[in-house]
Symmetry: C2
Subunit: 327 residues, 2 copies
């Protein structure tokens, strides 16, 4: 079946990422979304929470229109709520899980899904940390499972990291890539060639975070000032250009080669001195208390209004990324 054909998508686990994923899939007219979660008040929770993810970017329409949108999705059969995994998976073309980040849970759920879902269904895990090759251990057909790792919030953020296990079939990788690349999709799937802890996006984020924690620990800068630095320079730069393209530009006509030659002594000095702090264990974790304290003091807890503003801003950045100028 082609990725552009009507799909029946079963979502397992409807926490924040799951709700956002439901909103993502429901923006397509030809999907039916089956949802399953083990929380006892699941239906009420969904009716209360999903409207926030379907909210029209135009705030004047308010959340009333989103609530009635959920009711109409249910009454038209495009959104179906399940209390049993088996019935949720019975007719699926795609099963996607956003359950707990726990290897035993993942292995057990895929074993169950495999016996409940049609033999052709695609299996996607939204994990941020557990490779498909580890999750598929108890499956009979190991070619069906792959990681589709979203960035929060997936209904707005364009990236999906598609990370196959060595045993995943290339056709299933291509199906997932095409599904998120269909005309009208605002998403940008990227296939990662090898399984590696943290995949690519979080490895890059955590590399920067480690140095950020070190700089706060050493009192070079406060947590809030470091955030200002990032927002006033690298954030907008990397929203418009990747890191390699930025340095290709930075080197002028000589490109990244000239850039690396010009900056090499500062760069090597920085690389040699990067902070080797830890997040686990007893050594190198002195930064934690300072970072947590300064971050809490700077930001507290976000109000729903602040969250909405941040989502609108994120949408603006993403719109600007694809705008063509001077026409």
């Amino acid at each position: 079946m082609s990725p552009s054909s009507p799909q029946r998508i079963t979502l397992i686990g409807l926490g924040t990422i799951g709700m956002s994923m439901a909103a993502l899939h429901l923006t397509r007219d030809n999907t039916i979304v089956h949802v399953f979660d083990t929380r006892p008040d699941f239906e009420q929770y969904l009716l209360k929470t999903l409207p926030n993810f379907l909210a029209d970017p135009n705030p004047e329409l308010g959340s009333d229109s989103s609530s009635s949108k959920v009711a109409s999705l249910i009454s038209s059969g495009r959104l179906r709520i399940h209390s049993e995994l088996e019935t949720a998976c019975a007719s699926a073309t795609i099963v996607q899980e956003q359950g707990p980040e726990n290897l035993a849970f993942k292995q057990s759920i895929w074993k169950k899904v495999e016996s409940a879902a049609p033999a052709s269904a695609h299996f996607w895990t939204s994990t941020s940390g557990i490779a498909a090759s580890a999750q598929q251990q108890d499956m009979k057909d190991k070619t069906r499972l792959l990681v589709v790792h979203p960035f929060n919030p997936p209904h707005i953020m364009p990236l999906l990291e598609i990370v196959p296990a060595p045993e995943t079939s290339p056709e299933r990788v291509e199906f997932a890539r095409e599904y998120f690349s269909l005309p009208g999709s605002r998403h940008r799937p990227v296939v990662i060639r090898k399984e590696i802890p943290g995949f690519v996006g979080n490895r890059l984020a955590f590399a920067l975070l480690r140095e950020a924690c070190f700089l706060v620990q050493e009192d070079v800068v406060t947590a809030k000032d470091l955030d200002t630095i990032l927002m006033a320079s690298l954030g907008p730069r990397w929203a418009g250009n990747g890191v390699f393209e930025s340095y290709q530009q930075g080197g002028g006509e000589g490109g990244i080669k000239a850039f690396l030659e010009k900056l090499q002594s500062t760069m090597q000095e920085v690389w040699n001195g990067l902070g080797n702090v830890n997040v686990q264990g007893e050594h190198g974790t002195e930064w934690k208390e300072k970072v947590i304290k300064q971050t809490n003091e700077a930001y507290g807890t976000l109000t729903p209004e602040q969250t909405r503003e941040k989502e609108e801003r994120l949408r603006d950045f993403i719109r600007a990324q694809t705008r063509t100028y001077g026409q």
Copy 2:
């Protein structure tokens, strides 16, 4: 003299950063900008190049209006071209250098500037790598010099890292911070508390770049796909939120503390496995050839039209950062 008073700013070194800095200072009505550079065709070069930095964001006005803007700045005396360092500095309230990144050059230029400029003038260096404490060695009054490190292009990018040496006077640090914080300024100066190689912005950038080079070397991802990943996730996230604020949000009600607890095993695994590649020396530099080749193939050299589009996009991101929604 207060930072909001009329300033006479002398710029030494009018390469790309210097031209952009001239454009930045000239957007204020009460500045007179003196420019000095040793290239023999300096005046012709300036007349040809500066219009690109003064270009109105509205492309319909075209570059003709920018060229005539430069002519009118010169005839009104707001922009003054010098062929001698001494006359360029003679009446300055601020002297800012963007010369070669070479310690001997910087030490020698500040010694000359100190004897040519009024005793009250502020001395700013736009260096990205040479600390003020090293540059000031041959100066009589070491309290006057500090780093004002811009991000490219400074006439658009909001960040200025202000990095004093231990001997720089706090009043001179505050003057620079206030100058770039005046009402109407689109800039965001941040004072760094300790001199450290790469300051903060480039340390964060180089920490991420090192891992990016490692991932390309290991064939986990191509240079172009890595750039797509960054632009489709971390770029727009960090344009809207710093890294600490993002994880404060990511942890929900428990904030960054809860986030670190939840993600700690993946994070530590990633930190333990970050690539230790080098940019200098013979070991760990295998990535270079691959990264340069893939980057050249992906991007080539930017056309002037592409550069203009990228600058417009950057302006859009920066405008979105300060927009208020829902009003």
